[in-house]
Symmetry: C2
Subunit: 173 residues, 2 copies
């Protein structure tokens, strides 16, 4: 695929940040492009998209998290896992093997002080020209917004969870 790569951020408190990135992956794959997904923070688990990824050609998938960080007791371990994930991201970005790389939940790394945002900005600035990046996660910091060409804020107008409906197989995971 000959394209000029983009830098896209999906942020906000609503649904659709990760799924919109996955839908774009589906689109890129359809045009014969190669896609890599690196998931920060989300731990192991039976996400439907991971099952599909295992069956899909030209799609590489890395899980670099231990689950969302709510407790402070393992923070050093969480930081270490996140930093290892970022090293994988750096290697994949600079490899020039991909048309699209999704850095899922990466916005949390600077928020949790796992990584200085300048390291992410530097990597974005050094990416191969053809490579598009999609960064997802809440509360993207201004330094990330500044280097993106497209930023979408997913805002919840109505959310099932508020009505007591639980996260559901096939929809939320």
């Amino acid at each position: 695929m000959e394209t000029c790569g983009r830098v896209i951020i999906n942020t906000g408190n609503g649904k659709g940040k990760t799924t919109a990135a996955l839908g774009t992956a589906f689109r890129t794959l359809g045009h014969g492009g190669r896609v890599c997904v690196i998931q920060f923070l989300k731990g192991q688990g039976q996400y439907g998209e991971r099952v599909m990824a295992g069956k899909t050609e030209n799609l590489d998938w890395f899980i670099c998290g231990k689950g969302f960080v709510f407790k402070k007791d393992n923070i050093d371990e969480d930081r270490e896992v996140a930093r290892q994930g970022f090293e994988i991201a750096r290697e994949k970005v600079l490899s020039d093997q991909y048309d699209l790389i999704i850095l899922d939940e990466i916005t949390y790394l600077p928020l949790y002080d796992f990584l200085d945002v300048t390291e992410i900005v530097k990597l974005i600035q050094n990416k191969p020209k053809r490579l598009s990046l999609i960064l997802t996660g809440r509360d993207a910091v201004p330094e990330l917004i500044a280097v993106a060409d497209t930023v979408t804020v997913m805002e919840p107008l109505k959310h099932a969870y508020e009505n007591g409906i639980k996260a559901q197989k096939g929809i939320e995971f």
Copy 2:
């Protein structure tokens, strides 16, 4: 898949309405669910997701549009195509063959006066219990918002097009 179906709307002027629905399709397929996508308004064209759909099991895809409606001269023909699309949607929804049906760009049907919104509402209310629906498109009318359990508004904070970057293969189509 045994689930209790949801009614989700992705609306707003930002990116990600259709791609978030496609990402959810990817998720549902991963869990072994069956998915149907019905695209209103969007005409024929080399969308990457359509190429992928042709290669993907348990995913049915219907194109029920002639391209976005900008000119008024063929409005009767556009209305007829949209109404035929809605008949397919009705048949697929009531067939109880699917876990997820995506009604892509359906919000425009009542906006353009192609279909009374009460017909869409009635279909949603009569859907099989296990079936989840995702409706996409700008300016979802209040009658649709009312019957959804989850509504996300995709808002553009920064949009590449404004900076002169054109719609791009693998990303926007």
